[in-house]
Subunit: 285 residues, 4 copies
């Protein structure tokens, strides 16, 4: 389906962006961009706002106030190759469409994830689900790599042997390891993609899925740069304080702030009013 | 967002297709077509099938066997203007994205649905939710039209009067009738759109929503003609028989069918085998 | 978990909690409570955590870190009677199950929403979608009430007249106003209900839906008190600062905080560590 | 609806129903039963129908006419232990809530799926995704079992060795095979569960997931026997004919059927009328 867009994202369409040792992400198609968000928002607000706000202001307003439905109007379709253990985390996001390579229909190719030596780390003591930043002895790393390779070879040899004996594919594959690569088409709208990226770019996500999330983030930035910028400011790099935390914060903040105290930051007059309201709410705790 | 496609659907993009007295459907954008369905299906089945089946056969196979996920890979975005009572039925389909004109932000325009005189019918006796096909006296029809017009005028006058007294818009609108027009952007994938169309093209759907469904059906046919053809054959014009109905059918069908008996219809050899299996299942009841 | 449980929520089951002039919310049934959240979370974390954390700590941890899936394990079913304009806002939440009274099948009862005189307000100047807090002249209020009542009476009289002439119900109803009451069963899980409540308890929501949200909030509090408490602390009463706002905040916060500075608040040692991390992130901006 | 109910399903609550060699399904909780379906349907149809139809007739009507929303009012929560390759098929059903055991947090137990010798079959020639019914030599079966056991042992030994070297759990697990057991809580409403069961009880589903679907089907039958009966008649054991197939069927059916010809089957007068309509539609093709 040839297309002529005037969109910076078209130059990356269908290109393979490498992830991990054998994986990739390809942006296959997309529908809409920043303009589609604005167009959808304006049907809600009617004619009145057309002249008042320009696109960036409107998109930032929508993001800040969790008016999420206009972001659903942009759609992305990716082709992704990824290890099965990453696919298992990924598929937990239910608001997407998926067509995956099937080991019942087809023979799985012999491609396994192998971590870089520097990515092999010890169990974190503070984060029960993650890796430590501390060093692990290099002989342990080497042993891990040896174990992984040996196991991957032998399990694939068993798979091949069963296929050659005409064992049904759906059964022959059951001992293949979670490090095997699979691939799928994955289609999702921008609102739900932002939710995915927020969780999967986060430090608590497993390193191997973060790699993919970051590549997709760059792609979103090409397709909808204003939405991406707003996402970074208001979601990705924001901090939320609980009620009790705000009670603590109150002790450290000045009791009185003059309006002009907030003038020297990169905040619109509307954002200054909102920040001022937030600070007042804290003082009232 | 200018585009150059080689797709027959592009000629209808953004055009207003009239529905009812003031409504319309416009196809604003779409992503994918028959090709996208085939592409997604083939990632599941792997290389093996590429040469065996051609697109039409594959799409028909997918439709027939309820392999619905490849149809999710095609996306449509419509702009629709419709009476609120139609919108209330429409919104029950949850697997879509919506941005609707807001009567809290903006003033509602004075546009109401008025049925054609020939569409005013009496209550059906057999269908508790529908209209009768029987005639209704023409003086009743005239009275209905008069009642509707008078009421619409007076409720809009009340609305205007409240707005002029600076009553908040969100409150001033509460007495506007369900026949008032609203509008929205509505985005949905092809699988879910087929489900919507199946229910809303059906005779049991209210006439006023059927009008929209039929127009959208024509648009789908332009975007993905092979998928539409399969949808008509296998879903829209199919008939399902319950187990007990099949027991009855068994009595009227020949106990034995020779393979060649099924040769004279527009069925592929694979479809003949499937039909033959169905008939055998019936004979076993 | 014995089916005969002594949950404080059972005393409110099926009771009508009045909302607006004719509406109500009834909690018809529910499945699970705080225990179900804990049970589901523990299958993820395995045996290891059972002794370490007690329920409240675990639930607060889940809420704080957006581990939302355990909250999906609690389910609520409500019976709600509400004006159609409220129903139209409500139904935008798609992650729920609904069965609504049908004006195609049945005759709509003559019950309309009538605002209290004190709830009739002028259009807000700062909030384009809301009401002002300023006074509106009492003669305007009286006029609004008169207009609403007159219109409701006359539209219902027209409806009745059409029904008496045997016009089909699906058509006779189209001029009924948005202030008419409808009713439905509405079923939703706790995670999605929290999302609904966050948006609909908020000051930006229309007053008439806030009334319902608050009543349902009280019901949730009975069914899952620990989850509700965590929701209030970490979601409802939290404040999120954007990256730019944090840059401003940085100017007003002390550059150095000793660990003990955070000791005097109602924060667990784990929460103190998290807050300390947040403050460090701000200092690094 | 008193909370202390005498539902036949309560006797099976929490009981382990074995599936495969180490797996199980437990019904942990449920909300609603046939009565909840009827209750929800009646809110749609209003007072009028209460006396006319009894529960069974109403439930069958709903099922037959795809009025699916009342079935969403019944909710099930299962605890399931299952091999990862089964979990990967299962999770494709997105309309459910899941909390799964996490190999990032916890150590995976050494439990693997091992097929019964009789379930090891060759690749089907007619069904590209399935097993043949033909025999496979017993020495091949033995070899498969030996291969599976050897591989499972050695991969788990590698896993243990990495854990003992303090390699992070999220990495140590990546070579564990798809035959390893995992477990989860899985919550779904009856409408979506019926959809799952229709696809997974079907002969085209992999044997290992069919085992679970059948056990869950029995559980549904206990909780909502009338709904299950209707599901079997109208969905599970029904047959759908495409438009072209109907053209063929027409040739084999009598052109004229007297009303009494349909009297001798277990069909209500309403069902006879519907069947008669279907047959007329066929004759018109």
């Amino acid at each position: 389906m040839p297309r002529v867009f005037a969109n910076a994202a078209d130059e990356i369409l269908e290109k393979e962006y490498k992830c991990l040792n054998h994986g990739f992400v390809r942006l296959i198609d997309y529908m809409g961009s920043d303009e589609a968000i604005v167009q959808a928002a304006r049907v809600s607000y009617g004619k009145g706002t057309k002249t008042v706000r320009e696109d960036r202001t409107l998109i930032r307003y929508l993001m800040r106030h969790h008016h999420t439905t206009p972001f659903e109007m942009v759609e992305f379709k990716f082709h992704v190759k990824l290890p099965i253990f990453v696919a298992r985390q990924w598929i937990r996001h239910r608001t997407a469409s998926v067509n995956e390579y099937s080991g019942r229909y087809s023979i799985m190719p012999e491609e396994f994830y192998m971590p870089g030596e520097e990515d092999i780390k010890s169990q974190s003591k503070t984060n029960r689900q993650g890796r430590s930043e501390e060093d692990i002895p290099s002989e342990v790393r080497k042993k891990v790599l040896d174990l992984l390779i040996a196991e991957q070879k032998s399990s694939f040899a068993g798979y091949t042997e069963m296929l050659e004996s005409n064992v049904s594919r759906e059964l022959a594959r059951i001992n293949l390891p979670l490090s095997l690569y699979t691939q799928w088409y994955w289609k999702i709208d921008l609102h739900n993609l932002f939710h995915f990226l927020k969780l999967r770019i986060d430090d608590h996500a497993q390193y191997e899925i973060r790699v993919y999330a970051k590549v997709m983030g760059e792609m979103v930035k090409k397709v909808a740069p204003l939405a991406w910028e707003a996402f970074e400011d208001y979601i990705l790099n924001s901090i939320t304080f609980s009620k009790t935390e705000l009670t603590a914060l109150k002790e450290f903040l000045p009791t009185e702030l003059a309006a002009q105290d907030l003038d020297n930051f990169d905040l619109s007059s509307y954002e200054i009013a909102e920040l001022s309201d937030k600070l007042k709410r804290i003082q009232k705790l």
